[in-house]
Amino acid sequence: MTRYVGRTSQLEPLRAGTRKVRNVTKVSEDHVSEDKAPIVVVEGEVDLAVAPSLRERLKGVVAEGHPTLYVDLLGATFLDSTALGVLVTTRELCHHNGGELNLIVDNPRILKVLEITGLADVFPIYQSKKAVPTTGRADEVARDG
């Protein structure tokens, strides 16, 4: 399992014993799902101030050879249109490279934002990390029609 230090400039594999790093952008350390796709953990208020570093982070993960990845928003408390824009452009990048951008969301406020903008029907959304598939895609979160 490869883990990454939460830096925006580049991703560095964590050495054994290295402390986990949380940076000021609230994009914290990454994990790898059972299907070997990276999970980027995003916490706190994801707004205009955080969007640029999030964009670089996600672009970096795709550039590292991971066209399919998960963005864990379980710890996110606020998401605005600038953050949504980053997710949309990253999704396009993932598709261009033959992959998919998946979201892990259970916060009703975040889900509401995705519903309002129509993006809840665009992204594969999982309600927990346990729902992330071990192989292929798991059932997506049931959403209100």
Partner: protein, 145 residues
């Protein structure tokens, strides 16, 4: 300062706020709006809606340059919160805040509009004294009209 428990429709409560046009300070706009919404007895869902709406309002400017100043006025009267926002261009900036005139942000207008349409009762854009002014209005759900 108005009494929180005694609503006075004839006497608006006004909060005026100015801050440097910096992405990391947009949180101030959200804080001011949430504070006034709370004083206007909005419920938690309405306060959260207003927080996101005012964020979208601030980031909805097509272009904001470093060195500018964001001016915001929040008014509460009779269960209705009105927020107006404008950006005054600037020519100087602190060295740590980037180059004066450098574009700081430009909105994903489509997503912002979808969110504003859903979250507030009215919103709009007009030109005043040569510059754009964006505004929104949200009524408390149980407000007497």
């Amino acid at each position: 300062m108005a009494d929180r428990d005694v609503e006075s429709p004839d006497r608006p409560e006004v909060i005026s706020l100015s801050f440097p046009a910096r992405a990391d300070l947009v949180v101030l706009a959200r804080f001011a709006a949430a504070t006034l919404a709370s004083r206007a007895s909005f419920d938690v869902e309405e306060i959260e809606d207003l927080r996101l709406a005012v964020d979208e309002l601030v980031v909805s400017f097509e272009s904001v340059q470093a060195g500018g100043t964001v001016h915001m006025q929040c008014t509460h009267t009779g269960g209705t919160v009105t927020i107006e926002c404008s950006v005054e261009p600037g020519v100087t900036t602190h060295p740590s805040e980037g180059v004066a005139g450098e574009e700081l942000w430009g909105a994903d207008v489509e997503l912002s509009k979808l969110l504003l349409d859903a979250l507030v009762d009215e919103h709009g854009r007009e030109y005043r004294e040569g510059g754009p002014c964006v505004w929104l209005r949200k009524h408390r759900a149980n407000a007497v009209s």
